[in-house]
Symmetry: C2
Subunit: 155 residues, 2 copies
Amino acid sequence: MTNATITTPAEREIRIERVFDAPIARVWRAFTDPELVAQWWGRGNKLEIVRMEVERGGHWRFVEHGPEGDHGFEGRYREVTPMERVVQTFEWDGMPGHVAVETAEFTDLGDGRTKVTSTSLFHTAEERDGMLNSGMEIGLNESYAALDELLARLP
Amino acid sequence: MTNATITTPAEREIRIERVFDAPIARVWRAFTDPELVAQWWGRGNKLEIVRMEVERGGHWRFVEHGPEGDHGFEGRYREVTPMERVVQTFEWDGMPGHVAVETAEFTDLGDGRTKVTSTSLFHTAEERDGMLNSGMEIGLNESYAALDELLARLP
């Protein structure tokens, strides 16, 4: 399994880099089409897309139905620039009112592969560290592995 | 008109202090009862309380119908400790995805007056400065003047 590269470029930031073996248009679609997101974001768990309005000011809310219970996540889109960048907020129901800003940037590597760089900015270093210690790395790599499989079977 | 004291204790923070001539229980009620909030938060403009679930994890959304158009505001409660503290996020529809965390603390001054200290933490210094330059001070003092009047007529 390919692992994502996780770094901490600044005190309140987490950066995640991952290369996908698919052209940028397909990767963009997998990140922004609700029916496709439902197939990988939840790491194999059933993912309910309650709301996903992919435009500036739009809201999103997902509920992951896992073996150990349900987890809700939500936020709002700050910027949506097709095939380039999505900026959105991210909040987990388990820690309401703790909000990170996620910037996902899509780079065409020119050889049929696409790099996705996702940078999260937290209000405090403690919130950043809490996220790093939450097991996010395992979940993230599971989601991205599911995304690899989805990208391979998409036309 | 009594003006609030506005300071910037840290690079990403705004602190607002204001004393109200009313006991803490009455001030708490005016900040947390939707029917009362509707009477002062909008500075005399019609304020629609779309949602106001005053508990940890609850959401709030207000729409102010002013002479120059409508403005939506929303967020989520992180902590609600009666007569002591409310921590909630704050986001204006005009800048979606830019979220501040507001901590309002209520202090009984022991002489029938109550101090409310509200501290906002932004993700960046630029967002903090944008808020300072938005005319917030005028709007804030108008809201608090409306709150003074409401507190004076509440039983």
